[in-house]
Symmetry: C2
Subunit: 214 residues, 2 copies
């Protein structure tokens, strides 16, 4: 499960929750995440979530307005994993450490994607459909990573290592969607005669080349 | 509008259509495409499509089972533009022609994506949701391009120009989704302080580097 946010946990009316209520709320979130990993949100009812945790729908509605509301909270929880990824790529990319940083990022992203698959799929589909709240959650999650990569590419261009016609922000966005896209292959990679290691290697190499020009 | 398929055009029962009927059918398709460029398929009714072309719903149902059925035919029409893109990248990538080929591909893809935006968005969302028919349409459209890029990367690896840890098929798939992703930015690119040319340059440079190792 993703790391929990340190902000005070609240019910849907904005009241802070005690320890016991927080636990109940988290159980509902975990059950929602479990069901989202199996099927579409359209096929998940509050009754079913409540049944998963031996509770009742009315208690679910004390914390969340709807299954979608719970899914939004899950998507926000998942976003809290991103700062650690930004830290992974902070530092020197000019030598062999660069390729190692690219590998660490690819591993971490793949791992993140696999653990939170249902939630991220829902977030991305809702955002692609134009849902403003999920768009904001995705932007907040990915922007620090894109910004960090943009800065690295800008630095490499200033040193003359990377072609000047690469737009740093667009290239950084492309790399993040490449991580996203290739991570999505993790479960079907054997159909392409490839392994999970091939995925990590390919992501890492493309990120490294774009960021370092090597 | 995309080039028409050369296969005989049929109604939904599989009967071949005369010239006049083909024109009517195409009008329905064009109206569906126009509406899809403006809003979600969920908000488009057969009545509305019929109204766009001064016809009636019952005639629409002579050719198509539903709005989704018409959208599937549109997605197939759009796929017929892909072979021309595969031809664009056929040839030598070792010198400056390589970068030019990458630019031509990026231009063509961006152009294709802009003209067929509504249809491609629908196709991708349906495919991402796991719809088997749209998945097959997308696979048939993109696979020739992925295969051609895979072959180019494999050749460059054999010459020692491209790192051996790149998985050719995965890298080729990543490039195609990068084209797709960056093309999707075309309408919002000014928010990132970038131009359409920046998009083409960035796509081209990333494709060129991955395919040629330069």
């Amino acid at each position: 499960m993703p790391a929990k946010s340190t902000a005070a946990v609240k019910d849907k009316s904005g009241r802070s929750l005690g320890v016991r209520a927080q636990k109940t709320r988290q159980k509902f979130l975990d059950a929602t995440a479990k069901l989202l990993a199996e099927r579409s949100i359209l096929d998940i009812s509050v009754t079913e979530i409540a049944r998963e945790v031996d509770s009742v729908s009315s208690l679910f509605y004390h914390y969340f307005e709807s299954v979608e509301d719970a899914a939004r909270h899950l998507a926000q929880e998942v976003s809290s994993e991103m700062p650690a990824m930004v830290e992974l790529i902070d530092g020197d990319w000019t030598g062999a450490e660069g390729l190692q940083r690219a590998r660490d990022l690819s591993e971490a992203y793949l791992d993140h994607r696999e653990r939170t698959r249902g939630v991220l799929l829902l977030r991305n589909q809702a955002a692609d459909r134009g849902d403003k709240r999920f768009l904001a959650i995705r932007r907040d999650a990915l922007e620090p990573l894109i910004d960090q990569l943009t800065e690295l590419i800008t630095g490499a261009q200033a040193r003359g290592d990377v072609a000047a016609d690469l737009h740093p922000y667009l290239a950084a966005s492309a790399l993040v969607s490449l991580l996203e896209k290739l991570s999505a292959y993790a479960r079907s990679v054997r159909h392409f005669n490839a392994s999970r290691d091939d995925l990590v290697d390919t992501c890492a190499r493309m990120v490294y080349t774009t960021v370092s020009g090597k």
